[in-house]
C-alpha cells in the first residue's frame, strides 16, 4: 500500500480508458446486432449491410486503434477522431433507414447507442477535465446534427435520455475524481509524513540495535574481562583486544572499519571468530565444510561471524570449559553452524532479561539476516547452539555490524 496522487490518478486513467473501450465497442456491436434484427426481415441481407452499419463497424475498429496512440499524440488524435466520428455520425444519420414501424425520432436506439459510443470514446481523450469537455462537445454536435439534419431526413428530433445519462456519468466522474483528489490531499500528505517518520525512526532503531551489538561485543566484553581479571600486567592478547576496540571506536564509520569489513578467506568471519576464541584460551575443533561459508553473501557472512564470535565468547566466559566444537553443515538453501560445548550449560528461560549476549548479539543478529537460532542447553550438561542462515541476503540488511 503506497498511496500517491499520481499513482492513483494513473490507475484511474488506465481503468477509464479500458472501461471506455469496452463500453463503446460493445455498444456499437450490440446496436448493430439490434438494427440488423430489425432491418433483416424487411430489407434482406443487402439492406442490412448498409453504409450505416459499415460506419458503426469502422467506428468500433477506430476505437480499438485509438487506444494504441502514444500519449503525446493523444490529444491531437482525439480531436481528429472527434471530427471524423462526428462526420461518421452525420453519415450514419443520413444512411440509416429505419423501418417505418420504428421510433422515427433522433432518440431512436439506432442513433442513441451510436451517440453513447462516441461519448464513451471521449473518455480516452485525456486526463482530468478532457473527457467531460469532449463529451459535452460530442453531445452538442450530435444534437445539432440531429436537430438540423433529422427533420430533413424524416426523423423528428427527440430528447435522448440515454445519451444525456451517459454524458451525466462522464461529467459526474470527472467532478467526482477532481473533488476526491482535492479532499484526499490532506490525509495523503499526513500519511506520507507518517510513513517518512516511521521509516526514519525504524532506521534509527535498527541503527541503535546494530550499535548496541557492536558495543556489547567489544567494549562491554572488554570491560567484563577487565572487571574479572586479576590486577597486574595485562596479557598481550588482552592488550591487543583493547587496542582493537579503541581503533574501532576511532573509526568514523564502523561499517567501513577494516577490522569489520575485511573477511579473510576461507571461512571468513567465522574462522576469525574461532581464532579469537583460541587466543582467549579455548580449543575449538572445527568440523564440516568451512568452505561452504564462502558462498554466503557478505552481509549474511558477517552476521554469522558475529553470532559465532559471541557464542564462543560466552563459552570462554560462562561455560567453565576450555574446549568447544564448531561444525559447518551446508544445506539446500543455506548453511548451518553448530557450536557445542560440554560446559556448565544453562536454562535459557532463566537468563536475566538484562543479558544482551544471546538475545541481541546472537539471536537478533541471525534473525535480522533471515536466519534462525536454536539453543539446546541444560544446566550441568553443556550447550549446543544451532545457527542457520540463508544463502541470499535479506532485503534491508545493511553491511556488517561485527
Amino acid at each position: 500500500m503506497q498511496p500517491g496522487p499520481d499513482r492513483y490518478a494513473r490507475a484511474l486513467t488506465a481503468g477509464l480508458r479500458s472501461g471506455a473501450l469496452w463500453y463503446a465497442t460493445l455498444t456499437l456491436v450490440m446496436s448493430t446486432v439490434a438494427i440488423a434484427e430489425v432491418l433483416l426481415p424487411e430489407n434482406g441481407l443487402a439492406g442490412v449491410v448498409t453504409p450505416a452499419i459499415g460506419t458503426a463497424v469502422a467506428a468500433a475498429a477506430g476505437l480499438a486503434l485509438g487506444l494504441r496512440i502514444p500519449r503525446r499524440l493523444r490529444r491531437i488524435v482525439a480531436v481528429g477522431a472527434f471530427l471524423v466520428m462526428e462526420a461518421g455520425f452525420a453519415f450514419y444519420l443520413a444512411t440509416l433507414h429505419l423501418s417505418s414501424g420504428l421510433d422515427q425520432t433522433t432518440a431512436s436506439f439506432g442513433f442513441s447507442l451510436f451517440k453513447i459510443a462516441l461519448i464513451a470514446y471521449c473518455v480516452n481523450s485525456g486526463r482530468r477535465w478532457a473527457p467531460a469537455a469532449f463529451s459535452i462537445a460530442v453531445v452538442i454536435v450530435c444534437e445539432t446534427l440531429c436537430a438540423v439534419l433529422g427533420p430533413r431526413l424524416g426523423y423528428a428530433w427527440g430528447f435522448d435520455g440515454a445519451e444525456f445519462g451517459a454524458l451525466g456519468i462522464v461529467v459526474l466522474a470527472s467532478i467526482g475524481f477532481a473533488v476526491a483528489r482535492y479532499r484526499a490531499e490532506a490525509p495523503r500528505r499526513a500519511f506520507a509524513r507518517a510513513a517518512d517518520e516511521d521509516a526514519l525512526l525504524h532506521t534509527r532503531a535498527i541503527a541503535r540495535s546494530r550499535a548496541a551489538r557492536v558495543v556489547h561485543d567489544t567494549v562491554l566484553n572488554d570491560l567484563a574481562v577487565l572487571a574479572t581479571s586479576e590486577p597486574g600486567p595485562i596479557a598481550p592478547a588482552l592488550a591487543a583486544r583493547l587496542s582493537a576496540t579503541l581503533e574501532l571506536l576511532a573509526t568514523p564509520d564502523w561499517d567501513e572499519a577494516p577490522a569489520l569489513a575485511a573477511v579473510p578467506r576461507p571461512g571468513g568471519a567465522v574462522a576469525a571468530a574461532v581464532e579469537r576464541a583460541s587466543a582467549a584460551g579455548i580449543t575449538v575443533r572445527v568440523d564440516g565444510e568451512l568452505a561452504a561459508l564462502d558462498d554466503l553473501p557478505p552481509e549474511v557472512h558477517h552476521a554469522l561471524g558475529g553470532a559465532v564470535d559471541q557464542c564462543l565468547s560466552n563459552i570462554v566466559r560462562h561455560a567453565g570449559t576450555d574446549a568447544a566444537e564448531l561444525t559447518v553443515l551446508p544445506e539446500t538453501d543455506g548453511v548451518s553452524v553448530m557450536i557445542t560445548d560440554d560446559g556448565a550449560g544453562f536454562d535459557e528461560a532463566s537468563v536475566a532479561p538484562d543479558r544482551l549476549g544471546l538475545a541481541g548479539s546472537v539471536r537478533a543478529r541471525i534473525e535480522d539476516a533471515g536466519g534462525t537460532v536454536r539453543v539446546f542447553a541444560r544446566p550441568g550438561v553443556g550447550t549446543t547452539v544451532l545457527l542457520t542462515v540463508p544463502r541470499t541476503a535479506t532485503p534491508g540488511l545493511i553491511g556488517s555490524d561485527a
Binding site: M1, G4, A11, A14, G15, S18, W22, Y23, L26, M30, A34, V38, G101, D103, A120, F159, G161, G165, G168, I169, L172, A173, G176, V179, A184, P187, R188, A190, F191, R193, A195, E197, D198, A199, L200, L201, H202, T203, R208, V214, V215, H216, V219, L220, D222, L223, L226, A227, T228, S229, G232, I234, L242, L246, L249, D253, P353, D354, L356, I398
Partner: protein, 365 residues
C-alpha cells in the same frame, strides 16, 4: 490481518476512500434525479402511479444503501452491500416497467436502463472486477427477460429479441466497462510501486549519527580507562572496580535503548510484555501514526496509553489518545479504511477527552 480483496478500496484505501464515497453520493443523486426527471418527461406513459412512486423510492433506497455502505466508517464495502444495492436497483427497474405496463412507448428510454448502470459504476471501485461483471450480467439477464416479457405491451412493436438486445446492451456494455475499469485500474496500481519515502538517502546519516551518539557516551569514561590500561600495560584494583561500574551502567543504557519501541517514541506509555509492538509491520505502524497525526488537537499534558496483549500471531491493541476536543468525523474518515486494511477488526470511538482505538493486530512472527 484479514484477507485483502482485489478492490480499489482495499488496494489503495487512502485514495479510494474519498472517491468511493463521492461516487456513491453522486451516483445516488444522479440516479434519483434521472428517475424523477424521466418520469416527469414521460408522465403520459405511467399506468400506475403508486407503482411508479414505489419504484422511485426504491431508487432512493438503493442510493442510500450505496452511500451508507461506501462510507469510510463502514469500510470495506462487502459482497452483501453489492447484492443489496444492485438488487434494490433492479427491483426499482421491475416496478417501473410494471408501472408503465400497457402505456409504455419504448423500453430503451426507461430510466431503469440508466439507473442500474449508474449503480454498476458506483460499485466498480468498491468490489473485485469479476464480481462487478457477474453482477452486471445477472442484471442484464433480469433486464433482458423483463424487456422481452413486457414487449407485447409496448406501443412501438419490434421483435421481442431485438427489444431485449437493446435493453441488455444498456446493461452489458456498462457492466463490462465497469469491470474493465476496475481490472485495468487494479493492474496499473499493482504495476506502479508509487512514491517511496526518501529515507534511504538519509539512512547512512542516521546510522552515523547513532554511532556518534554511542561514541560520545563511551568517550566520557570508557575510552580513557581503556587507553590508560593500555598505556600502563598493567591492571590496577581501581581499574577493575571502575570497569565493573562502567559495564553495569553501559549495559543498562544499551538495554534502555533497545527497549525504546516505536510506540514509546510516539509518546505512548506502553504495556507490551510480549513485544508485539516491535513485530508490527511498517504499514501497520504508519496507519497508527496517521491516526495520531489526523487528530488536530492532541492533549500534550496527558500521555497516550498503548496496551498490547495477545497470543502467538494475534494481538489486540488498545490505544488511548488524549484529545482536548472531540475530533470531527471528517478528520477520522480517511484513516479508518487504511486501519481496516492493514489491521484486522477495528473499533474506533471518540469523546471529548480521548480517541480509543481497539484493533486486532496480526503479526508475522
Amino acid at each position: 490481518m484479514m484477507q485483502l480483496e482485489d478492490t480499489l478500496q482495499q488496494q489503495d484505501p487512502l485514495d479510494a476512500a474519498e472517491s468511493g464515497r463521492l461516487f456513491a453520493i453522486g451516483g445516488a443523486c444522479l440516479a434519483l434525479l434521472t428517475a424523477i426527471g424521466v418520469t416527469a418527461v414521460e408522465a403520459d406513459e405511467i399506468a400506475s402511479w403508486p407503482l411508479e412512486i414505489a419504484a422511485i423510492l426504491l431508487v432512493a433506497l438503493a442510493g442510500a444503501a450505496a452511500t451508507v455502505t461506501a462510507s469510510p466508517f463502514r469500510a470495506p464495502f462487502r459482497l452483501r452491500s453489492h447484492v443489496l444495492v444492485l438488487g434494490v436497483s433492479l427491483l426499482a427497474f421491475l416496478l417501473d416497467e410494471l408501472a408503465q405496463l400497457g402505456a409504455n412507448g419504448l423500453v430503451h428510454d426507461d430510466w431503469g436502463l440508466v439507473t442500474v448502470p449508474i449503480f454498476l459504476f458506483v460499485v466498480a471501485g468498491l468490489r473485485p472486477p469479476q464480481e462487478v461483471l457477474a453482477g452486471g450480467l445477472v442484471a442484464a439477464v433480469v433486464v433482458g427477460v423483463t424487456a422481452a416479457v413486457v414487449s407485447q405491451f409496448v406501443a412501438l412493436q419490434v421483435p421481442p429479441f431485438a427489444r431485449a438486445s437493446v435493453a441488455m446492451t444498456s446493461i452489458v456494455a456498462p457492466a463490462c466497462a465497469a469491470a474493465a475499469f476496475a481490472r485495468a485500474a487494479l493492474r496499473r496500481l499493482a504495476r506502479d510501486p508509487g512514491p517511496r519515502a526518501g529515507i534511504t538517502t538519509v539512512a547512512d546519516m542516521v546510522r552515523l549519527s547513532v554511532q556518534q551518539e554511542t561514541i560520545a557516551r563511551l568517550e566520557a569514561e570508557v575510552v580513557p580507562l581503556l587507553s590508560e590500561i593500555i598505556a600502563d600495560g598493567e591492571l590496577h584494583d581501581a581499574d577493575g572496580r571502575r570497569a565493573r561500574v562502567l559495564a553495569t551502567g553501559l549495559r543498562a543504557a544499551l538495554l534502555a535503548d533497545l527497549r525504546r519501541d516505536w510506540l514509546a517514541e510516539a509518546g505512548f506509555a506502553v504495556t507490551d510484555r510480549q513485544g508485539y509492538a516491535e513485530r508490527m509491520n511498517q504499514e501497520q505502524r504508519t496507519a497508527i501514526r496517521s491516526l495520531v497525526a489526523a487528530l488536530p488537537l492532541l492533549d500534550p499534558d496527558r500521555p497516550g496509553i498503548a496496551v498490547l496483549v495477545g497470543q502467538d500471531l494475534e494481538a489486540v491493541l488498545e490505544l488511548t489518545i488524549p484529545v482536548r476536543i472531540r475530533p470531527p468525523r471528517a478528520a477520522l474518515a480517511p484513516v479508518i479504511p487504511v486501519l481496516r486494511t492493514v489491521l484486522g477488526h477495528v473499533d474506533l470511538r471518540s469523546d471529548d477527552h480521548a480517541v480509543v482505538l481497539v484493533a486486532e493486530v496480526p503479526v508475522e512472527r
